[in-house]
C-alpha cells in the first residue's frame, strides 16, 4: 500500500492507497501514529483504499484511541461501500466520524 501525507488548511490529510492487511498494517501504523499528536486534526482519505483486512481494522482503532487520548480529531473520508460495510458489520464504524469527501472532512474539523 502507499501512504501520502500532506497538510491542507492546517489539517493533516493522509491518503491511503491499495490494501491494508497484516502485511502492510504495521508499516502504515508506524507512519501514521506519530501524526496523531495532542490536539491534532487528521483526515484519513480512504477513497483509494481497495481492501481492509481485520489487521487494517485494528490499525484504524489504534489510531482512533491515540486521537482520543491526545484530544485530537480524526475524520475518515471516501469510504467505499465495501469498506464501509465491512467496518459496519465488524463494529468498527461506530467509533469514527465519517465524511464523504476530503472537503467535507476539512469542514467537519473547522
Amino acid at each position: 500500500m502507499e501512504i501520502n501525507i500532506k497538510t491542507l488548511e492546517q489539517v493533516t490529510v493522509v491518503e491511503l492507497t491499495g490494501d491494508i492487511d497484516s502485511k502492510s498494517a504495521p508499516d502504515a501504523q508506524a507512519q501514521i501514529l506519530p501524526l496523531i499528536q495532542p490536539n491534532c486534526k487528521v483526515v484519513l482519505d480512504m477513497s483509494r483504499l481497495e481492501y481492509m483486512s481485520s489487521a487494517g481494522l485494528r490499525m484504524m482503532l489504534s489510531m482512533h484511541r491515540q486521537a482520543t487520548g491526545n484530544k485530537g480529531q480524526l475524520v475518515l473520508v471516501g469510504l467505499s461501500e465495501e469498506i464501509s460495510d465491512t467496518m459496519s458489520a465488524t463494529g468498527f464504524l461506530n467509533f469514527f466520524t465519517i465524511q464523504d469527501t476530503v472537503e467535507a472532512g476539512l469542514v467537519a474539523l473547522k
Binding site: K23, S54, R58, D85
Partner: protein, 727 residues
Amino acid sequence: MERIDIYPTHLYQGYKLRPGRPYPFGATLVPGGVNFSVFSRHASYCVLVLFERGKASPMVEIPFRGMFQKAETDEPVWGEFRIGNVFSMTVFDLDYEDIEYGFRMDGPYPKTERGQPGQHRFDPSKILMDPYAKAIGGREVWGQTPDWNGLYHHRARLVYDDFDWEGDRPLEIPMEDLIIYEMHVRSFTRHPSSGVKRPGTFAAMREKIPYLKELGVNCVELMPIYEFDEFENSHIHPDTGELLMNYWGYSTVGFFAPKAGYAATGKSKDGTQVADELKTLIKELHRHGIEIILDVVFNHTAEGNEYGPTISFRGIDNVTYYMLTPGEGYYYNFSGTGNTLNCNNPIVRSMVLDCLRYWAAEYHIDGFRFDLAAILGRDPSGAPLPNPPLLETLAFDPILGKCKLIAEAWDAGGLYQVGSFPAYGRWAEWNGKYRDDVRKFLKGDMGLAGGMAQRLEGSPDLYAWGSRGPTASINFITCHDGFTLYDLVAYNGKHNEANGENNNDGGNDNHSWNCGWEGLSTDPAVNELRCRQMKNAIAMLIVSQGVPMILSGDEMGQTQSGNNNAYCHDTELSWLNWTQLEANADLFRFFKNCIAFRNAHPVLRSKTHFRNQDYVGSGYADITWHGPQAWNADWSDTNRTLAFMLCGKHAKGGTVVDNTIYVTMNMHWETLPFDLPGLRDGMQWHVFVNTSAPSPEDSWQPGSEPLLEDQSRFLVGSRSVVILVGK
C-alpha cells in the same frame, strides 16, 4: 522484559520452528509465530500442513518428527515435537491472516476402507481440520457450490481475539425473568421483505434488534451457528428440482468456529472479521438488554457413519471421539444421524468444556441449549450413566457458572429424561410434556385440567421432587422441530412431501387441529378461529410459571405449509416473511401486549413453586384453582375448562407486591359463564385479555386495562382465554 524463548531452534524447508507448547490445544498466536497443538492418542505420525489462504495445494508440510536443520548452524538434526499424546510446534514468521492449516496423521493398520467398520480410521492421504479451529473456511459464502475434488474442504484459520467489548459482559438476567425467542440466523432476514442490506447474516440480525425490542423478548436462542456444511447430504428433490440442504445446521463441522456463511464478512475469507461480526451482534444485543443462547450440537458430528467424509475427528482419533461397537467398530447411532460423539470420554469431555468456556469467555454467550442432551449422559458404550461426568463438569464449571444450561432431555436412541435429567441444581429442560399437554388442551381434548394445572405451575410434578423450581422448565408450544404456531391450528397432519421422503419424516404426534379445513382457508370463520387459537396459545404460555420460549415468526403467523420438519429448505418455506407483520398486525399486537404483561407482573415469574397456601396473610393462597364456578375447579375427565388466580401479594415468594391475576380458559366450543372470585381491599377486576373480543379489544397495554362492568361473572367465549387483573 522480552521472553527468552522467542527464537527458532529448527529449520524445515526454510521455515523456522521450535518445539511447541502442548497447551492450549489448537493454533495460538504467540510472540513471533503460531503455536500449533493437536491431540491424538493413537496416531503414530503427524504432519502440520500449511496453506496460503484459499490455495488448493499446501505451501509446506512440516512433520512433527524427523530430520530438521539446526536453526543456527544448518546442521542436520533429529527432532520430535510431541509431549505425551500431543503434537505441538511453534512456527515463526507466519502471516496469521493469510494461512490455513491442517494435519495429516497415520496410525495403526490395517487401514479401514470407506464403508467398512473399524476402530481406527487413519488415512494420511487426508488433510484433517483442527478440532479446535477458531475459524473455518471453505464454506464462507453460503450456498456457493464447493469444489468437490478439493484436497481440503473445511480449512482451519486463525483468529485475532482482541475484540473491543467496550465493557460488555453477559447480562445474567434471572432465569425466571427470561422470555426466549428461538430463531434461525438465516431465516430471520433472508426473505426479500426483511428490508436489510445483507440478508441472512449476523449483521442483518443486528439491524433487526429494534424489532426484537418492540416485540419485548429479552433472549434470543440461535439455532446452530457453529461451522457446519450446508452441502452435507445435499441433493436435488426428484419432483420439485429444489436443492435440499443441511439448512438448519444440526451437524457440527467445528465446535469453536462461527458459521462463516452466516457472516456478511465471510466472503473476505478473514476469520477474524467473521468473529468480530458475531461479537458485534452480541455486544449490540446486550446493549439492548437481550441475552443470547446458542443451540449447540455435541451429540454427533458432520462426519456421518462408515460412509461419511473424513473431516477431522475420525482421522485424528476415531476411537476417542466416537462411540463404537466393541470389536468391529461400527458407529453407534444414538443421534439418528450416523455417529455419536463419545462425550463421556475424558478427552472429549475436556473438548466440550474448552469449547463452552471459549464461547462464554470470548463471545460473551449467555447460555447454551444442548441438542439431544440425553446423549451427553451416556457412557462410551451408550449406557445411561447415573452421574454423567460431562453434565456434572459443566454444571460446576467456574467459567460457565452464570450461563444458562438447557437440555433437550431426550435422544434418538430412546432415552427420554424430561423431569429426570441430571440437573445438579443448574440444568433446565425443554419441557416436552408442557408442549403436549397445552396443545391437547388447546384443541379441546378432554380431561386435561389436571395436567394443565401442573404445566401452568411450572410442572412441579416433574421438577419439585428434585428441588429444581419452575425455572427448570422451558415452556414452549412450538419450536423449530414441528409445526409453527399457525400450522398447529391449520393442519391436522404433516405435509412433508417437499422433504423428498414421501412424507415419512417428521413427527406424527403433533396434537394439532386445523379448525375445520386442512391448510390455507378463505373461510372467515375458520380464519377467525385460527387467529383466536394462536392468541389462546400465547396467552397460556405467558401466564405459565417457568421460562417461556416463542418460535420466531409465530408472532406474525408464519407458515411452513404444514411441513413439520423443514430442516432442508433454504427457500421461502423457511424464511420469515415480514409482510405478514402487516397482514397479521392484530396477532403481532397481541403478542407484544402478552410479553409486556409478563414483564410487568412478577407474580407470573416465580423462582419457586407455589405452596398452595396463604403464607403472607393476604386471605388468598398463592394460587387457587377455579372453574365456571369460582373456588371449584372441575378436574373431571370430561372437562375442557380451567381457571386460576394468582395472589399478587405472594409475588416472588411474598417479597414483591403485584396485582392479582385471574385467568380463565374455556376450550369448550360453547360460550360459558365463569363466576369471578371476589377481591378484597376495594380492588376490582380489569380486563387484560379476552381472545374472543375483536382486535383491538382482545388485549390491552399493561396498565391501561379497562374496568370490568360485572365484577361477579364473565361470559367466556367458546375456545377463548380471558385474563383479568385485580387492582
